[in-house]
């Protein structure tokens, strides 16, 4: 550059006009330009770069070799990788650690292959190949980062964005949108579309799913989900070409209990959550991994909260329990956490009206009354949503007061907690996939435990399992034989007179699912004995397969029975003088004498509050760290996502404080201490995410001499959307039960 400036100075001094184009630019030569041999020699002189180490599978995915001899080897971007036979190219790339973009492919749905975003280049193939649909053949060389593959992705992205509206600022999916992420990663930087975009009319799918069908990219994930997983054929693709619309054609609402999952599945903002519309962006939210307690399944969820408010609930992956789905009740009950909350201790004064008092006064009043009452007249009832720690504390408190009349709602008047196999789902929810014959006794899994129903449907679809149902007529989303309505049918099957008994006898893995609604019957022991007779005859309970399952209704029942919340006498309510209700709202309080002192400890002002004399506010499941055991015996823990409301405290802390004020101080002060107390009673409640199988089988169960009552089975859950305190307080659930329940 120095030469150049010198030269320019000499030039400008002689010239009259000096323009910058006359400035001298030095010409430099490079060794590669001089002769081609020199450049290749220079390149070859560098040492061979060491091949990078193989990558781990995408997302930590695990895969199983069903037949180790059948493993194929393919090459993904130069890496050899061994895969089981029958996998697609996309799955092979996932195992190799290469994430291929896709819109229509979902690992739990059938393959559609219509988005074309997963195109990769395969050697010896004239065109790029849709990796989600192409089976991986041995010796295939797959290349995902060649210019051809990249061009294909850019082209597909451009086509998708052509008719996509510019809705990002007002679309709820912004920030978690597959289209946004993939266009940033794989799309080209400019578009060439100058025509008018098409628009589609919105469909009304109900109060839960908001549809903006203009944003739909016609990936058909929702259609496949509805037909395959949910079992309702509500959605379909209408029209052809650019006039394609996803809709219900008839003006129908999506009434399925799994309809909220299409919100997660839709890659763009076409199907979004209506209650969550315009409320928050996903980067403002803090996710807390916790467990759902609205039913006994214990689906894993993530509560997204912003400050003290729960904004939405999203499912978490748990292959064993709920896969990737949650029911509508779980997903949308969160607005019940904001209504009808108890936030101050209250005492009912002489006029019958509640007055807010301090904790000191409330606990003093309760302790005074408790110490004056005789020990047989003290009763404690744990509620549907109680965690194991609080139930342990309640039982300890009442036992120290001299009473043994503690039980949990829903376990009936005479629960038997001696043998665990009689109240757990012994084949575990994931194990239901191995069954080939199902006998449903007095249970409607679609409303009682939607995820168990989804699992049964998955099994029925995959292996054509037979399902027989005994109970009042309900509808199922799989083929099901209605065998009868009452216990008589059980006796018939047990004695072999019914045609279904041959089906059970010929099955390899028969599964019997008994509903927990039977706990409320007086002839419960006889009915269970009859079902066990079927189990014995059909060889249902074996060392390698235990098909005798009980489907519980509440999140607290399994832990309650494990901790021994079994009352001494069955009708102690009629002579009670001191009643301690810990969240028990579905108890029949008519028989409680008028002068009994009722203490209600809970988080919602639901039914039992009207009879209570003292209210002690406690924390809901989203605000406390509690242990819950689901119907299969898997212990799980909730974590606090939001702070407690007002002056509310954790349940077990209230019981512990009450014990101290009453003079019978319980020996634990911290969560760890009460957990160690729990471990002396039921050590499986400390091992989270593990199933403790029932140790003993029917060999130990006593003979039953009761007569079976022939009243037909009743429906255990009348309104799917409103089953406990939280869902009854929720406006969304009220809308659903008004609009979506089948009349």
């Amino acid at each position: 550059m120095g030469l150049g400036s010198l030269a320019s100075r000499t030039l400008t001094s002689t010239r009259i006009l000096s323009s910058q184009y006359s400035r001298f630019r030095p010409i430099v030569t490079k060794p590669g330009l001089q002769s081609p041999d020199a450049s290749s020699a220079a390149a070859a002189a560098q040492p061979e770069p060491t091949p990078p180490p193989p990558k781990k599978p995408v997302g930590g995915a695990r895969f199983e070799f069903t037949n180790p001899d059948d493993a194929i080897e393919v090459f993904v971007d130069g890496f050899p990788v061994k895969i089981p036979k029958g996998m697609t190219v996309l799955q092979a790339c996932e195992i190799a650690g290469v994430d291929i973009p896709r819109f229509c492919y979902h690992s739990r749905l059938s393959i559609a292959g219509n988005c074309r975003m997963c195109l990769v280049e395969v050697e010896k193939s004239p065109k790029p190949v849709a990796s989600c649909a192409m089976p991986a053949l041995p010796g295939m060389k797959i290349k995902t980062d060649t210019p051809l593959a990249k061009k294909a992705r850019e082209g597909v992205m451009e086509f998708l964005l052509m008719n996509h509206p510019l809705d990002c600022p007002i679309c709820d999916q912004g920030g978690e949108c597959d289209l946004q992420d993939q266009s940033m990663a794989f799309g080209s930087d400019r578009g060439r579309f100058t025509e008018m975009k098409r628009s589609v009319v919105d469909k009304n799918l109900g109060p839960l799913v908001k549809t903006v069908m203009t944003r739909c990219i016609q990936c058909t994930r929702c259609v496949r989900f509805a037909t395959e997983v949910a079992g309702v054929q509500d959605l379909g693709m209408l029209g052809r070409g650019s006039g394609e619309e996803i809709g219900t054609y008839v003006e129908k609402l999506m009434t399925s209990e799994l309809s909220g999952n299409v919100i997660d599945i839709c890659p763009v903002g076409a199907l979004t959550s209506k209650p969550f519309a315009f409320k928050a962006r996903n980067w403002e939210l803090k996710g807390t991994e916790t467990i759902d307690v609205t039913d006994a399944v214990g689906s894993n969820i993530r509560i997204d909260s912003r400050g003290p408010e729960v904004m939405r609930i999203i499912p978490r992956l748990n292959e064993d329990i709920n896969e990737e789905w949650i029911s509508d009740k779980t997903r949308f009950c969160y607005d019940g956490l904001k209504r009808q909350r108890l936030n101050d201790p209250m005492i009912r004064d002489a006029n019958g009206r509640f007055k807010a008092v301090s904790w000191r006064d409330a606990l003093t009043v309760v302790a005074e009354v408790a110490l004056k009452v005789k020990r047989e007249e003290i009763i404690g009832v744990a509620g549907k949503l109680s965690d194991a720690e609080s139930m342990m504390a309640l039982k300890d408190l009442l036992n120290n007061m001299g009473s043994n009349n503690v039980w949990c709602e829903g376990t009936g008047t005479n629960p038997n907690a001696d043998l665990r196999y009689r109240y757990l789902m012994n084949s575990s929810i994931a194990g239901l996939e191995k069954a080939d014959v199902f006998l449903l006794v007095g249970t409607q899994p679609r409303v009682e435990a939607a995820m168990v129903n989804a699992r049964i449907r998955k099994t029925v679809r995959a292996s054509n399992a037979k399902v027989g149902y005994i109970g009042p007529p309900t509808d199922f989303n799989y083929d099901c034989q209605h065998l009868g309505t009452g216990p008589q049918t059980i006796l018939e099957i047990a004695e072999g007179r019914h045609p279904f008994s041959s089906a059970i006898a010929n099955a390899k893995n028969p599964a019997i699912i008994v509903g927990a609604g039977l706990f409320e019957r007086d002839d419960k022991d006889a009915v269970f004995a009859a079902v066990e007779a079927i189990a014995k005859k059909g060889n249902v309970i074996r060392p390698d397969w235990n098909g005798f399952n009980v489907l519980l209704l509440n999140a607290s029942q399994a832990a309650a029975l494990d901790l021994g919340l079994v009352p001494e006498s069955s009708n102690s309510i009629e002579s009670a003088k001191f009643l301690y209700l810990m969240g028990a709202d579905d108890l029949n309080l008519d028989k409680v004498p008028a002068d009994a002192f009722v203490v209600y400890q809970g988080h919602h002002g639901d039914r039992s509050v009207y009879r209570a004399n003292v209210i002690l506010p406690s924390a809901a499941f989203s605000e406390k760290e509690g242990t819950y055991e689901n119907t299969e015996g898997c212990t799980q823990q909730t974590l606090p996502a939001v702070p407690t409301v007002g002056d509310a405290r954790d349940d077990w802390k209230i019981v512990r404080a009450l014990s101290e004020v009453a003079g019978i101080r319980l020996p634990y002060d911290t969560l760890a201490a009460i957990r160690s107390r729990m471990s002396t009673v039921a050590p499986n409640l400390l091992r989270t995410d593990e199933i403790e199988p029932a140790a003993f089988g029917p060999a130990l169960s006593p003979d039953c001499t009761q007569k079976i009552d022939s009243t037909p089975f009743k429906v255990a859950v009348e309104n799917f959307y409103m089953t406990d305190a939280i869902t009854r307080a929720s406006k969304i659930m009220a809308q659903c039960s008004a609009m979506l329940l089948k009349k």
């Binding site: 301090s358 509310a648 002060d669």
Partner: protein, 132 residues
């Protein structure tokens, strides 16, 4: 004016711990002598008594008994003088005085210890809040 005279009086360094200690006591005496003025300015006759205010000032000073560095003591004294000046020259208001100095003291008025005598730490924390 009264406040300018006072603020001049605190020199920046004490030679030793004893000198700093002496200054602390001087400050305490000064504060106690201005208590009648404070009660008059902010109309605190119905809220606290003079002896209660003296105990409050003493407890505030006692909060820093663990300090041994004379320079730190000087700094704390400077801040104390500043606060005293602010209060005496009516730069604060009644609700400041009541909120910062009268309420929430354990040994005073409302929550007498006789109710809480035999209770455990658990119960004391339980009455205060859910998170402990």
């Amino acid at each position: 004016m009264a406040f300018t005279l006072r603020s001049v009086k605190v020199p920046p360094n004490s030679a030793s711990l004893e000198e700093a200690r002496g200054r602390v006591f001087d400050f305490f005496r000064q504060a106690c002598r201005s208590i009648p003025t404070i009660m008059d300015i902010y109309n605190l006759d119905d809220v606290v008594t003079k002896s209660q205010l003296r105990s409050i000032i003493a407890s505030e000073i006692r909060k820093n008994t663990h300090v041994t560095n004379p320079k730190v003591i000087d700094m704390l004294l400077f801040k104390g003088m500043e606060e005293l000046n602010n209060i005496v020259e009516h730069a604060k208001q009644r609700h400041h005085i009541i909120g910062q100095y009268v309420l929430g003291r354990q040994g005073l008025a409302q929550d007498s210890d006789t109710k809480d005598e035999g209770t455990s730490d658990f119960l004391k924390n339980f009455y205060k809040s859910n998170y402990f």
